[in-house]
Amino acid sequence: MHNRIKELRAKHKLTQNELAQKVNVRRETIVFLEKGKYNPSLMLGYKVAQVFHLPIEEVFIFEEKD
């Protein structure tokens, strides 16, 4: 699974810390999310999508590996 958090964050002119504050997590969590080192919980994924006013499927893209 990969995500568009970095791209959307830049589009909305948000810093990592600002996004972290909006979804009530630590800045390191946002860093790990952007690097793909962490798969968020459903609740956190939903909160991040809400910040960008997008459905969750457009923020987190799941690709099935064959």
Binding site: N17, V25, N39, P40
Partner: protein, 158 residues
Amino acid sequence: MTLMLFISNFMLDLFNIKFKKMKKFYLPVFIITVILIVAGIWIYQTDSASESEAFRISEILHVGVIVLLFIFGLFFFIRRIISAQQGVPPEDELSKRITQKASSSAFYISLFLWLGIMYINNNRDVETDLLFGYGIMGMAIVFALSWLFHNFKGVSDA
């Protein structure tokens, strides 16, 4: 009687509120301070190298464990302060997952550590408290390294 009950309830509520706030922020500081004071008193009462023979290795290990605990406590305390200043929570789902992963990894590695210590105990003449000291220090170091590893590697379950 009613007045006394009212006053005691009021004091209890005040204590609970203060204690909850204290528990979240100041209690770790309090615990670290107590540990440091106890360690300081213990070190002061132990014979120093200049007066008689040098510290026994077991005493150095005991001090080492206390210093490690202090460093851990200080690290997490500073982290809490920085988080409070940035307006983010001190713990979130990622930090809890990292701690869980680090704990489980450290547990498995520590099993082998204690097997090694048992082997040393069976084959060499080493004091029991020294072995326990090595074991405890080893477990603390293993957990610290495990935490650092998972903190840098991440916890992707994909």
